[in-house]
């Protein structure tokens, strides 16, 4: 027995209208009329997106995941603000500095700091080896000045979220997540990597959605020969083993291409295999919707095709598309990550989570510097949050799926 507030089937127009209070709108035995009305109020129906939002709000976990995703998106948009040191700056002598954990309470009061590090030259390998030195207290402040960067590529500034009071120097390094073999700050690189990894996910999903809705729509709405061809194409693409194909395609990108070109190429490659699932779903929906009464009604009242498609049909499943898109982003992120990890995707000097993880490919590196694995944790958290968020959206968009 579902409570009667759910009326999200049917054209969008009806949703904004109050159910009329006269019997003329209805034939048959049901209809408000004279008699005690206080128990039979007309039901106000909210627009579809509001219903979806209310249902979504009930899932506390999905809500929390949404918040996490927003935080990650903030980092992706303003990596410079969150970074502490220049992401490309390498310091030959400061390789594999261990993680300097941020601590907040010193002698009972709130005063953030990290422990310093002390280095010693290994007599055999002649390399500097670094250890945490709990004798040194390096105070940390918020909103400090640091290296210059551009916000959204336009505004120059040098304010950062955190930093050491005197700015990181060789005597007082500030490696929140340690440094890699070239002495680069992992924390800052993680921040910049977030932007690339997340945006590749978003852009490739956007392209997928576009292709999927377009092809699925043509296929489902128009049917006939177009449908046949597109369906065969989808079958063909879906039967391909994705991983070897991706590997082969990305491997075929010329090595001398610029970072931007490679970025776009990879986005395209990921999207090219990814659009098929969405296309199938969209096609299925169009096939069903085509026969629905409200579409026939719209046709009969003279609406042209474009209006029918965009004003009547698409809104009914737009929430599904959003949910499906949200669930597709983590797939793309993982794909880019492992492709770059294998050396086939983005390459240095580009920074993405996969590129960062390249440094952690073998046991020696991990044994020496386990903190190099932390970008992987970023992947896990992001993918987890996006998956939960996507599931929450999907459940909110279609409660009958339960």
């Amino acid at each position: 027995m579902e409570p009667v507030t759910d009326l999200d089937v049917g054209p969008k127009d009806i949703h904004d209208v109050e159910v009329a209070e006269t019997t003329e709108d209805w034939t048959g035995a049901i209809g408000p009329g004279p008699g005690p009305i206080e128990d039979t109020e007309a039901i106000n129906v909210a627009p579809n997106w509001k219903l979806v939002w209310w249902r979504f709000k009930k899932h506390k976990l999905a809500l929390f995941s949404g918040a996490v995703v927003i935080v990650i998106a903030m980092v992706a948009m303003f990596p410079g603000f969150f970074a502490t040191m220049e992401p490309h700056g390498s310091r030959a002598t400061m390789s594999f500095v261990p993680l300097q954990r941020l601590r907040f309470f010193h002698n009972g009061s709130f005063s953030p700091y990290v422990y310093g590090v002390v280095g010693a030259r290994n007599p055999e390998t002649l390399r500097m080896e670094w250890k945490i030195d709990e004798e040194q207290i390096v105070p940390v402040a918020f909103f400090v000045q640091g290296f210059e960067y551009k916000v959204l590529g336009v505004i120059s500034t040098d304010i950062h979220l955190l930093g050491t009071a005197e700015g990181p120097t060789e005597e007082n390094p500030f490696f929140l997540l340690g440094s890699d073999r070239l002495g680069r700050d992992q924390w800052s690189r993680l921040m910049y990597g977030t932007r690339v990894s997340l945006s590749i996910g978003l852009v490739s999903v956007a392209v997928s959605v576009f292709l999927g809705v377009l092809m699925g729509g043509i296929s489902g709405y128009f049917g006939g020969v177009a449908d046949l061809i597109i369906q065969r194409l989808i079958e063909l693409l879906q039967s391909l083993p994705a991983i070897p194909i991706w590997m082969a395609l990305t491997a075929s990108l010329p090595r001398d291409w610029s970072v931007e070109k490679t970025y776009f190429a990879i986005t395209l490659i990921l999207a090219l295999i990814g659009w098929t699932t969405l296309a199938r779903e969209v096609r299925g929906r169009f096939l069903v919707l085509r026969e629905e009464d409200f579409v026939v009604a719209a046709k009969l009242s003279g609406a042209n095709q474009r209006r029918i498609i965009f004003r009547h049909m698409v809104p009914t499943f737009s929430s599904h598309i959003i949910a499906a898109a949200t669930l597709a982003v983590p797939v793309m992120i993982i794909s880019e990550t492992f492709l770059s990890f294998l050396g086939l995707g983005l390459r240095p000097p580009a920074i993405s989570w996969g590129v960062l993880l390249q440094e952690a490919q073998n046991l020696q590196s991990i044994a020496l510097a386990p903190w190099l694995l932390l970008p992987g944790v970023a992947v896990i958290i992001t993918v987890l949050a996006l998956n939960i968020l996507g599931d929450g959206l999907r459940d909110a968009a279609d409660p009958y799926s339960h």
Partner: protein
């Protein structure tokens, strides 16, 4: 079986659904009896609780629904009451998944569901499902079960029963599917058959055939039937006794002739009036019952029908709940008009 003692007696049955948004009192105090060989028709609008009532009888209520109060007394020949040893057993005390309830379900009380198409498994043959129904309750081998199944199909008027056994349910037409479902329900000679709107999904001609079939089978097996429908015309054809339900409560009960010729409850009267008559002159406005079924979470207090009742008595009808009382020697109604002070 003593014809003067009821086969099934539902007393003050209450089945509530506990949702996040609130409690839906789908069945809120229902009483009626079914005697051996009698056809009882339960009639009411959608949402009045007819289906939930019969699911409760069969102990098929799923979460978040639950029987919260009441008794369902059944005179069983297979199961005896654990404590008293009597053959009258209260079904609400049995574990719905337990052996005893399962022995009763299908063998003594059988159900014909609302949608025979969806109630057959699409990937198993009709024969497979039929023999399964038989072998669940009778100790026979596969060949014997097969034979019995074919016999049953024959009884329900299925042409070419041997062939049909290997067919899938979706290969059969609506009418044949319904017959196969009836055959499956009757395969173990139940003493009570519950038919959940069996004629709603089929056309009028097939409807007549199915009703005739049910009537002849009823006589042949001397079984009682509880027949659920919202169609008063069907009630007039099949029922001996009528139970009128509204919003989870019984409004009126009585023999079918009395209900149609001397309805007591204002709701029954309104229902009968709202049947369009083929004899009325054209252009007559379709009679309706004013008002609409209230939202499940905002039921009116007092008599559930008072917001739409022509005989509404302010201060009485909305103040307290009426009880189902005998008005004359055959009919009972739940209405303050007949309440003895």
């Amino acid at each position: 079986m003593n014809p003067t003692e009821p086969l099934l007696s539902v007393q003050n049955l209450k089945t509530y659904f506990f949702l996040d948004e609130g409690i839906v009192k789908a069945v809120d105090g229902v009483d009626f009896d079914v005697y051996p060989g009698q056809v009882v028709g339960i009639v009411g609008e959608s949402g009045c609780g007819k289906s939930v009532t019969i699911k409760s009888i069969l102990r098929l209520t799923q979460k978040p629904g639950r029987i919260v109060e009441g008794e369902i007394l059944f005179r069983s020949q297979l199961v005896t009451d654990a404590d008293s040893g009597s053959d009258v057993i209260d079904l609400t005390t049995l574990d719905p998944h337990g052996r005893r309830m399962r022995a009763i379900r299908g063998a003594e009380i059988a159900m014909i569901p609302q949608e025979p198409m969806a109630s057959f498994s699409p990937v198993h043959t009709v024969g497979n499902q039929l023999t399964e129904a038989i072998q669940l309750h009778e100790d026979v081998n596969d060949d014997e079960a097969w034979r019995i199944a074919i016999e049953r199909l024959h009884e329900v008027g299925m042409p070419n029963p041997e062939q049909r056994m290997d067919a899938y349910s979706w290969e059969l037409s609506g009418g044949l599917r319904q017959r196969a479902m009836i055959a499956m329900a009757l395969s173990c000679n139940p003493r009570l058959l519950i038919a959940d709107e069996p004629t709603t999904a089929i056309d009028v001609t097939t409807q007549a055939q199915v009703l005739n079939l049910l009537r002849s089978l009823q006589k042949m097996y001397d079984m009682a039937i509880i027949f659920i429908t919202h169609d008063l015309g069907v009630i007039a054809q099949v029922a001996d006794y009528v139970v009128v339900m509204y919003l989870g409560r019984v409004m009126e009960t009585g023999p079918v002739d009395d209900i149609f010729h001397n309805p007591l409850h204002p709701y029954t009267k309104a229902l009968l009036k709202s049947i369009p008559s083929i004899y009325s002159p054209s252009g007559t406005e379709l009679p309706t019952i004013e008002g609409s079924i209230p939202h499940p979470f905002s039921r009116p207090s007092g008599c559930p029908f008072y917001p739409r009742c022509e005989a509404f008595m302010p201060g009485v009808c909305n103040a307290s709940d009426p009880e189902l009382q005998s008005v004359n020697e055959r009919q009972s109604a739940s209405c303050f008009l007949y309440e003895e002070k």
